[in-house]
């Protein structure tokens, strides 16, 4: 009973942390404080994904998993859709240092520093497999 209560509390705390991180990221995106890693852009372009689809689709995204202890800063894996409704897995992150923008990192990185968000999009997910390495 006690164990179950602890587990529920831990889960609740985890959910709150997750939503807090994603809300911070959405706020940064709304202010267009986003950077896109050069390598990440190349990954998006190779899959024919446009930056505006990534930015506009974030608000409707569903959190899949979070990486709160990633060495470059906390990241979150989000399942989004492009304008055609195709699924895109995106990793958004907030760099540890002080920078104030989200970065878009198509499977590979957007950049920003403390207060920034990093976006990492994996591209269209044909098999719904998550291959994100923030």
């Amino acid at each position: 009973m006690v164990t179950k209560g602890v587990a529920v509390a831990a889960r609740l705390r985890y959910d709150l942390l997750m939503s807090d991180l994603f809300h911070r990221i959405l706020d940064l995106i709304a202010r267009r404080q986003v950077l896109i890693s050069d390598h990440g852009y190349d990954e998006l372009a190779a899959d024919g994904i446009l930056i505006r689809d990534i930015l506009e689709g974030a608000t409707e995204g569903a959190i899949v998993e979070e990486y709160p202890t990633y060495c470059k800063g906390p990241c979150v894996l989000v399942l989004q859709k492009d304008r055609e409704g195709k699924p895109i897995h995106v990793v958004w992150g907030i760099p540890n240092r002080r920078i104030i923008q989200p970065s878009l990192l198509p499977r590979i990185g957007l950049t920003q520093a403390a207060g920034q968000t990093i976006f990492s999009g994996e591209g269209h997910d044909k098999k719904a497999s998550h291959k994100v390495h923030p």
């Binding site: 372009a45 930056i51 800063g73 540890n96 920078i99």
Partner: protein, 71 residues
């Protein structure tokens, strides 16, 4: 953060374009990065090349036509 001027090349079909952008470098471990504006400029050039709108692409970048060489 520091900015360095760079030229990125885009290839679509028989065309290529040289797009001028700024690389944004920092000590966050994620760099180098592009601004949203530069990334969207790259997207616009890419889309213009795809649709054959060379006039639009030419406004944003230097456009080249690729010619196979008979070696």
């Amino acid at each position: 953060m520091t900015k360095k001027h760079r030229t990125k090349f885009i290839h679509e079909g028989q065309y290529a374009a040289a797009v001028e952008v700024d690389w944004i470098e920092s000590e966050t471990g994620w760099s180098p990065c592009l601004s949203v504006e530069d990334a969207q400029k790259l997207d616009e050039v890419r889309e213009a090349l795809k649709t054959g709108d060379l006039k639009k692409a030419g406004h944003l970048a230097r456009v080249f036509q690729l010619t196979p060489l008979a070696v």
